[in-house]
């Protein structure tokens, strides 16, 4: 399954890109995050929420193939 992952703010500073598309076999958000922790160890020190198709999801949510976004703390206003 191909998944597009979007990075924002201080998360994009760690990943050094704002988005990437990866082929990912597993089924849970938590598994994708573990994969990203291996790829970007610095992420473990960062606080972020995860959205799938623009809706916040938990670690136990199943991946649907929709866009994933890693969202650091909000700072609007």
């Amino acid at each position: 399954m191909n998944i597009t992952i979007k990075y924002f703010g201080q998360i994009a500073e760690v990943t050094k890109q704002t988005n990437e598309t990866i082929s990912f076999p597993n089924h849970l958000v938590s598994e994708l995050i573990e994969h990203l922790y291996v790829k970007y160890p610095e992420l473990k020190n960062k606080s972020f929420k995860i959205a799938q198709n623009q809706e916040l999801v938990s670690n136990s949510t199943k991946l649907t193939g929709g866009d994933i976004a890693l969202l650091p703390p909000f700072a609007g206003g």
């Binding site: 979007k6 623009q54 976004a69 700072a75 609007g76």
Partner: protein, 147 residues
């Protein structure tokens, strides 16, 4: 008069005071309105460890943010008796002293605008994926976090 269409809330750069004045003027034909309430967020020149913030660079997950703004708008129209509602948020660089958020609600009655405005602003702060890079005078930065 309710404006329920999906809108782009974001504006590039600071929100000019003239734009706010013109927005107010546009409501003077809506003579069922008795009360307006406006919230403006302004970038503070906070001093942190001796260094002064000179600007915030705003980015956002724009599609999700506009969807959240839309949901906030719909919910506020359901919860409160509002005639109009307008929300604008900056993207890009906003200098200290400039305005980055403009929320404008109008109703026949004042009680409604007070409740609605606070509800909308708190939801924007909590629920909308906007990110702020606070730039210091020496070009270092830190990331803003809403409380």
């Amino acid at each position: 008069m309710k404006e329920h269409k999906h809108k782009n809330v974001f504006k590039q750069g600071a929100i000019p005071s003239e734009f706010i004045g013109e927005s107010i003027a546009k409501h003077q034909t809506k003579t069922s309105i008795g009360a307006h309430n406006i919230f403006l967020g302004q970038v503070r020149a906070d001093v942190i460890d001796g260094k002064t913030i000179t600007a915030i660079e705003y980015t956002a997950y724009e599609d999700m943010a506009n969807a959240k703004f839309h949901d906030i708008r719909e919910t506020a129209f359901e919860k409160f008796n509002l005639t109009c509602m307008h929300i604008y948020h900056s993207l890009g660089t906003v200098k200290a002293g400039e305005i980055c958020l403009f929320v404008f609600v109008s109703s026949p009655r004042r009680k409604e605008v007070f409740k609605a405005l606070e509800y909308i602003v708190e939801r924007i702060k909590a629920d909308v994926p906007v990110f702020g890079k606070e730039i210091f005078e020496d070009d270092t930065h830190q990331w803003k976090v809403n409380n």
